[in-house]
């Protein structure tokens, strides 16, 4: 099986925009140097994935992303036997490929995966740094460049979804949150192509939605949502309809909360 060429598609060639909020880039680089597996925690759309794309560009490592879901089984990660005319043939899963050839493997929204699936990553995340392929009998030692990174959203509480303690304790972690207002405005302005004052107003709408969590909203607007609204505005849509389309309407079906959000949006329209 050919090696590097398989993963060159996963190399990020142009710098993804990322605005650091603290020393997270230096910390992550140090964790990578120590090959310490990492958890990126934080609410939806606050920049976890973008941060990792940026770091994988900076470290010049391919990034293999796996979106976790509850039907994902261990073979979806490590690989499975397939049948061809000559008999059975082993096919590496994305995790095995990353382990073999030295990529950063990113399990996005890791709590969505079943805990019995996640046990497969345990031997990779301790001193052994290897992946035993139970079904093929092979033991794949991790490439020196390999790193495992997982993300999850602690606020998103689908009843009792959490990482197992035995999984958690193998990782270092960086906690992300929504950036401070002026920083978030800078990000929205850059990503959406709107002026600073419009970005500031969008960030105020974001703050209003996050305050509404105390009144029963499941989660406040993400930076990503604000960027979506900003792009619509840059494309010529009015502030209020853009915010309604990209923020208020997707966030909630509760009429009381939607009306409150609409008032907060209207308050930002001069």
């Amino acid at each position: 099986m050919s090696g590097r060429p398989l993963l060159t598609d996963y190399l990020i060639r142009t710098e993804p925009y990322y605005r650091p909020v603290g020393d997270e880039a230096a910390l992550f680089a140090a964790a990578y140097a120590a090959r310490l597996p990492m958890i990126l925690k934080g609410p939806t759309g606050c920049g976890k994935t973008r941060f990792l794309e940026h770091m994988s560009w900076r470290l010049r490592r391919p990034l293999v992303t796996i979106a976790c879901h509850e039907d994902m089984s261990a073979p979806d990660l490590v690989g499975r036997w397939l049948l061809d005319a000559g008999g059975t043939v082993w096919h590496d899963g994305p995790l095995t490929r990353a382990v073999r050839f030295g990529a950063i493997c990113y399990l996005d929204e890791v709590v969505e995966a079943r805990s019995d699936t996640l046990v497969a990553i345990h031997p990779l995340t301790d001193a052994r740094r290897m992946l035993p392929l139970e079904r093929s009998g092979e033991v794949v030692p991790a490439h020196p460049d390999f790193l495992l990174v997982v993300s999850y959203n602690p606020g998103y509480q689908a009843l009792q979804k959490d990482l197992k303690e035995s999984t958690k304790q193998r990782f270092g972690a960086l906690a992300f949150t929504y950036p401070a207002p002026d920083l978030e405005a800078e990000i929205v302005a850059h990503e959406a192509g709107v002026d600073a004052s419009c970005a500031t107003r969008l960030v105020q709408v974001g703050a209003a939605s996050r305050a509404l969590v105390a009144e029963g909203l499941t989660e406040g607007a993400s930076t990503r949502m604000l960027i979506h609204a900003g792009r619509l505005i840059a494309g010529g849509i009015g502030f209020a309809p853009a915010c309604a389309l990209a923020v208020a309407t997707p966030l909630t079906d509760d009429p009381a909360l939607r009306d409150a959000l609409a008032a907060a949006i209207a308050a930002q329209v001069p």
Binding site: L83, A207, A267
Partner: protein, 526 residues
Amino acid sequence: MSRGGERRRAALLRALWNRTRPIATWPLPEPGGPPQRPRFDDDEIRLPHGAAPVRAADDRLAEASLAHIGAHLAFGSGRFAAGSLRPVQVALVSLIEDARVEALALRERPGLRRLWLPFHAAEPGARTAPDLMARLSRALLDPGSDDPDAFVAKGRALFFADPSAWTDPGFSRRLGDRLGNDLGQMRVPFSPRSYIVEPAYRDDHAGLWEQPEPEAASGPERLPGDAAARAAGVDPPPGPAASLRRYPEWDHRIRCARPDWASVREEEPATGPTRSVAPDPRLDRTLSLLRLSRMTRRRRQLDGDELDLAAAVDAVGLIRSGRQPEPRLYARIQRRPAPVPVLLLIDVSLSTADPAPGGGRLIDAALDVAYTVIGALPRLQVPLAVMAFRSAGRHDVRATWIKRWSDAPGIAAGRLAALAPGGSTRLGAALRHAGGMLPPGPGLILVLTDGEPSDIDIHDPAYLVADAREACRRLAGDGVTVLGLALAHAQIEALARICTARRCVSIHTLSRLRALIGTIGRGAWS
């Protein structure tokens, strides 16, 4: 009254200013009576704008009031001391303070001007003190104002001379003092008793001034309803903090539901000393068996975790003999569907103080069951909430959360220990309330009761039974099953009339309870 409307008002204050206060709804003033203005203090906000309408577009006055009061909460800094100020100066300091917090609010939320401005109706013309004040208020908010009056123009010029001073609350005091003096020298009469703040969305200024000197407070007398309510010894109307829900009740004689008939109020749980329940090793075994049996292997699937060996051998045989193999080559390990959420509803009426068949009181037996269920179901990953209920007539059904969905099981022990028997059993209302607390989709309510529903205002024994049966039927339509749990075998019959014989279990022994938990864990109760 619209509950949604009240929630919208609370959410609005939160969305605009990230503030929260109980918002009391006061009726509109009588026709011909003096107009009333909102009021706020450290404890609550009162809106005399009548019940909250369903549509946001019909509630602009309350919206404007909340936006204005929120600006006071965000940009005000404590109360003013009236000292030796004359009433006209107090009124003008308050007016400038209103304009100051609004001006600061508009810096961050410029759209609020569109909300507030339509309520400013003062036009150039009349020159009484209240008219001049209303005109000044408008001129300070409306950038297009061209009021020719010298007093208004002077106030406007002084206000806008140095916007950087707006962040200093002393600004209102200084400017208000000066303008109050001017108005006094103009010999325009001012009567503090008849003065009403304009426009209608603004508060009555009682929240701006220190209270121990009542004559200094510029505001009018207290709201008329206030004194009346206190004299009558009536509790003030509950704010959103005290949640009250109304439910229909089925009257079997007229074969009709009476709408909004029973009121259920949620009470804060008390906590008492916790006690430990002896561990049951056999229950532990049941639980670990149940956890193991969550997986099933399905063979000959199109897609799956591993090759199904038998299918693969068959397929290779077919391929070698030149025929088309069956594509179903995989075995898939599948989990049972996610467990449905369970709500345990405990009857704590006075009759549960009766002796239980096994010794002790019925309520103690019920609490033992609750301890066991709380200990067991979360270990099976079954979402669990626990609620206790009692009643004293249809207006006073009380529900107490022992464990909300998100509470850790440990929190329940102290709350269970604090439960004491009292009141009656209005089961139908409690069931409807519990049903509303379940997440949408299939669910299970376990009712732990000593049998017959009863209440102080009901003399027909069949009435509440029929109502509870109807509540079960309705819940079944929403995919919610009600299982009746009887603490004594003799109670089964009464329960069966409510939730049908198939849906009643007697749990008078530990083995029965274990079996019940096993059934719930397997999802086999339906």
